[in-house]
């Protein structure tokens, strides 16, 4: 099984926290910032819907040291940005990330991207979009790790990961799905 869904925040109705499973309510409660809470509610609401559709009962939640988690034998990957949220459920260690395309500057590029990625940006007609593609692949890759590896962002060359994933661009937002890399 590999299922992922995207929900745009301007098209979704507010999720009532009381409608969520208690284990999801706990996670949403960590957010106090109103928009972060709204994103979190939308993401856990979407996850709950997906589980219901697949008729999956939550028997066991496994959480790894870096926060990565599983429901039963399914890997859970969640992401949110200003425009929307996305959730992926998979029997493999696949992952999803989304980010709104935004203005970027040289210090951020230097801090975040390796040489190959910076070359990818230089050759691109849209630097901001190219940066966001690299960033979402980076985040998706990090989500596949089981513990905090203390990796620097620059040490992950996402240009070598492009063939393992795919991205779409909608509503000025990049959504990247990355198949399990380290099989």
């Amino acid at each position: 099984m590999r299922d992922f869904r995207i929900r745009w925040l301007d098209q979704s109705s507010e999720v009532d926290v009381r409608d969520l499973a208690p284990c999801f309510q706990e996670r949403v409660a960590k957010y106090r910032h109103p928009f972060a809470k709204k994103q979190s509610l939308a993401a856990y609401g979407l996850l709950q819907e997906m589980l219901k559709e697949q008729e999956i009962e939550i028997d066991k939640i496994t959480t790894f040291p870096n926060g990565k988690w599983m429901i039963n034998d399914l890997y859970v990957s969640m992401t949110h940005t200003k425009t929307g949220v996305a959730v992926m459920l998979s029997h493999e260690n696949d992952s999803i990330d989304m980010e709104t395309i935004r203005k970027i500057d040289d210090p951020l590029i230097r801090h975040t991207l390796c040489e190959n990625e910076q070359k990818f940006l230089r050759e691109s007609h849209n630097k901001e979009k190219a940066f966001t593609i690299c960033w979402t692949f980076k985040e998706a890759f990090i989500k596949q790790l089981f513990q905090d590896e203390n990796m620097s962002y620059r040490s992950i060359d996402t240009t070598s990961l492009f063939e393992k994933g795919m991205y779409v661009c909608q509503r000025n937002t990049i959504i990247t799905v990355l198949k399990e890399v380290m099989k």
Binding site: K30, Y31, R32, H33, P34, F35, A36, H80, T81, E99, R102, I104, D105, P107, L108, R110, H111, T112, W135, E139, D148, N150, M151, S152, Y153, R154
Partner: protein, 76 residues
Amino acid sequence: MKDQKKIIEILSNYTDVEPDQISLDSNLVADLGFTSLDVLDMVSEFEDEYNIEIQDREIKQMKTVRDIVVYLTENA
């Protein structure tokens, strides 16, 4: 401590929370709504401002405004 007011001023460019509502105990994600890219963007600005290089493993330890202020006080 480094100039807290200046640090919070820079930090407030990355959140919609008003500077006077930001305290040392504010959590970047839970209280201020930062994403991981917001954090990196802000750190890059601090790197430029204070002419330092902050390692990603140190950035991951920065959960609150206090963590940033303490780090910059000790390292910038």
